[in-house]
């Protein structure tokens, strides 16, 4: 009977549910970015002087995002080898991406977070998922939250579903996909723009499965990406084609630009890049023609207002009435507490600054041994030795011997 009464209610509820328009606006297609901070992770994975162009690629991107406003504290720059101060570099302290040497990418205030042997697959995955020991400095961590847009740029030598790190190890596209999924579950990003410039780059994003990732790669499977030109004076190629034309476009962008990512993608043609650029948009909520370039490359600071109850200042205003009483109301206003404590300090006579709080010493490393040793034939050892000898002699004398006839099979 009761069930019969409940069933129609249930049916009614089920019917009404689709029409409850409370969530409609959230599911609606987002057209504007609502991130509050922008981060950039720029990774170069190759070692050795002849991979100068990969450092130049990454430094060009670094320069672009810095120019458009992302501060160093929100950029993680990973350079796997030092080319600027390399003894092979004719221009110490400078890295160029063009043979006209118009722009010095290294400039005056570059901050490299991971250099040399620190650029490994393990560190990259740890960086994305933020799994570090407690000693790890803050400037080397990706401290993003659910309102961050992250621009991730990787360059180096790659292949079908892998990217080579420092000529010694590889990262698989599945590893990056899993790292992104972890980031999604830990709410570490709002949107990710993943750009990769290697050979067979499009395979690198083929395995992603987390939402809100937009990916672009410089070449299809079984296709190589090419370098743009070499500098005779430096002696090696200085920039890759994909990054060169990317920069060609981005140099015209400033903080107020209204150009969209679709404009960027449209500028990549096969005649210029000599490989097929691939874009993956199925995981991304917005359409690239609605995404501004500055959503990822610049440091736009949207603000989310805090709609909770305003902090009441009544306690503070009435503080003056509390002088002399010991009854403190339970409040969680830190300012009140500080003022109360300060009042206490001044009114009491615990203010004694004459006691010595330190002791000067010149003794260092006091409890570390001196690695010395002296041969000590203590009484114990001598008695042990004698005991041993006596035991042997006694046993020999007492017998318990055996004689055996050992026959071997023979002919």
């Amino acid at each position: 009977m009761l069930i019969a009464m409940r069933l129609p209610l249930l049916l009614l509820y089920l019917l009404v549910l689709p029409f409850s328009g409370a969530n409609n606006t959230d599911e609606a297609h987002e057209t504007i970015a609502t991130n509050t901070n922008n981060w950039a992770v720029l990774v170069s994975t190759s070692r050795f002087w002849f991979n100068y162009r990969h450092m130049a690629n990454v430094l060009s991107m670094y320069r672009t995002v810095k120019r458009l406003g992302i501060p160093d504290s929100q950029i993680i720059l990973m350079l796997s080898d030092d080319v600027a101060c390399n003894s092979r570099n004719l221009f110490p302290g400078s890295v160029f991406n063009n043979k006209d040497h118009a722009i010095d990418l290294y400039g005056d205030s570059v901050e490299v977070d991971y250099r040399g042997y620190e650029v490994t697959v393990e560190n990259f995955i740890r960086l994305l998922t933020d799994r570090w020991t407690e000693d790890h400095p803050k400037s080397k961590r990706l401290l993003t939250d659910e309102n961050s847009n992250i621009f991730i740029y990787m360059t180096g030598h790659g292949g079908d579903d892998f990217l080579k790190f420092q000529d010694a190890e590889e990262i698989a596209s599945e590893d990056i996909a899993d790292a992104f999924q972890q980031m999604y579950e830990k709410k570490r990003y709002k949107e990710i723009f993943f750009m990769v410039d290697t050979c067979q780059a499009n395979t690198m994003y083929s395995k992603f499965y987390s939402p809100n990732i937009l990916a672009v790669g410089s070449s299809e499977m079984d296709e190589s990406s090419y370098s743009h030109h070499s500098d005779v004076e430096i002696g090696v190629a200085v920039i890759d084609r994909f990054t060169y034309y990317c920069l060609d476009f981005l140099e015209n962008i400033d903080k107020n630009s209204t150009l969209t990512l679709q404009d960027l993608f449209d500028s990549f043609t096969f005649e210029r890049i000599h490989s097929h650029v691939g874009v993956r948009t199925d995981l991304f909520q917005r359409d690239p023609s609605e995404v501004l370039i500055t959503d990822f490359f610049a440091n736009v600071q949207n603000v989310i207002p805090d709609d909770s109850k305003p902090l009441s200042l009544s306690h503070y205003h009435h503080y003056k009435d509390y002088i002399g009483t010991a009854q403190y109301e339970q409040n969680n206003n830190v300012l009140d507490l500080a003022l109360e404590k300060n009042h206490e300090n001044f009114s009491s006579s615990k203010f004694d600054r004459l006691t010595k709080r330190f002791k000067s010493t010149n003794e260092l490393n006091v409890d570390i041994g001196s690695n010395e040793y002296s041969l000590a034939f203590s009484k114990q050892s001598v008695t042990l030795g004698l005991m041993f000898v006596v035991m042997i002699v006694l046993f020999i004398l007492s017998g318990n011997t055996t004689k055996a006839n050992y026959n071997l099979y023979n002919n």
Binding site: E372, S381, F395, I396, T401, T402, L408, N410
Partner: protein, 394 residues
């Protein structure tokens, strides 16, 4: 009239001293080669131990010294280099003496009593090992003394004590206690032997502990821990080194345990299967340890081969002696060349030397397998050889 054994011993000493005098730099050369010196037996590290002992620096606080304390103390008592050469040569002479005496025990053996001793004296592997002053000679002396005591005098106590001395010097000969027990007749004797050896080992360890000022048991990890856990990975003719260089980090402890079990794996089976021929089981166990120990050297192999003349009746049954011998020669001739190519010239790869170490292992293994087959065959024939019979195993 000087007996044969003394003559053999003197001849042995003479050859060693002659080589040491004629080629004075040979000791250093051999000490640097990986076939004759290993991190736990090299004379260089023994010298380092003596130096640290004399200069009041802790000997076993990590570092390069892996020799047991009593050995280091014993050799630190001698200052002169010549005296040390004489000690090493005389130890070899003693081993030759013991081999000769042991041959006399086997009355049925139709071989001249001086033959094993003479072969030992001219065996190039043992000679070069003695010249290189590798400390494996002390272990070999202890093992052969143990055999000598049990065979010639039937002295259970001394042979157990010598086995524990051998175990104290390098760790794995302690496993030879099991075939030694196989040589004894009654369970009472076996019990006694076990107790005596454990007791003497304890006394030796306690003495070492006290000798070092009673400071620490650090010599245990440094001497025995480094052998068991293969701490110093250095190329040699064994199976361990390249495996543990290339193995992935997380699996290393597991495989170290497996390799240790592998060494102990065939000691008891040999003893049990050949319980009617305990001496033979003992020698097979020596051979097995030489094959599977972490830091093998050619001195060990030479010592093993010097016992083969005791088994001349088996030689008719060997199925492929030429192949085993040739494999062995191939390995020991090419090993130094490939090592030189890899390390000194840099034109070869580590794989060359690794391949030769595999060939060496196969050579030793084929010798062991062949000997096993021969003994099984002779057991089947009940001592009356019948080479014509075609047999197989099921």
């Amino acid at each position: 009239m000087v007996s044969t054994e003394f003559k053999v011993a003197l001849g042995c000493i003479a050859t060693r001293l002659a080589v040491m005098c004629l080629f004075p730099s040979l000791q250093q050369q051999l000490d640097k080669s990986v076939e004759f010196s290993t991190p736990v037996t090299s004379f260089r590290s023994l010298q380092e131990g003596i130096y640290l002992l004399r200069n009041n620096i802790q000997v076993y606080n990590h570092g390069v010294v892996h020799h047991p304390p009593i050995l280091v103390l014993f050799l630190s008592l001698f200052d002169s280099d010549k005296l040390i050469s004489i000690i090493y040569a005389s130890l070899d002479g003693l081993i030759a003496y013991q081999l000769t005496k042991m041959t006399k025990v086997f009355k049925n053996l139709k071989v001249q009593s001086w033959l094993p001793g003479l072969l030992y004296a001219v065996n190039p592997l043992v000679l070069l090992s003695c010249v290189s002053r590798s400390s494996i000679i002390f272990t070999n002396f202890a093992i052969s003394s143990s055999l000598y005591c049990i065979l010639t005098e039937g002295n259970v106590i001394l042979s157990s004590v010598m086995i524990s001395v051998a175990g104290y010097l390098s760790f794995y000969p302690l496993l030879l206690l099991i075939p030694l027990l196989g040589m004894l007749k009654s369970w009472r004797q076996r019990m006694f032997s076990v107790i005596v050896s454990i007791l003497s080992l304890l006394i030796l360890l306690l003495f070492s502990y006290n000798m070092l000022g009673g400071e620490s048991w650090s010599f245990l990890t440094q001497v025995y821990g480094s052998i068991i856990s293969f701490q110093k990975v250095f190329p040699n003719l064994g199976l361990w080194w390249y495996f543990f260089i290339e193995m992935f980090d997380t699996f290393i402890p597991f495989f170290k345990a497996v390799f240790n079990i592998f060494i102990a794996a065939f000691i008891t089976p040999f003893t049990l299967r050949y319980h009617k021929q305990p001496f033979y089981a003992f020698i097979l166990c020596i051979g097995w340890i030489v094959l599977t120990k972490p830091y093998p050297s050619l001195g060990d192999a030479g010592f093993f081969f010097s016992f083969l003349p005791f088994f001349t009746p088996l030689f008719g049954y060997l199925r492929y002696p030429i192949i085993s011998a040739l494999l062995f020669l191939h390995a020991i001739v090419l090993a130094p060349i490939f090592y030189h190519l890899w390390v000194v010239l840099g034109s070869g790869n580590s794989n060359f030397f690794y391949a030769i170490s595999l060939v060496y292992a196969l050579a030793l293994a084929s010798i062991l397998v062949d000997l096993n087959w021969a003994m099984l065959r002779i057991e089947y024939d009940n001592g009356v050889p019948n080479f014509k019979l075609k047999v197989t195993q099921i």
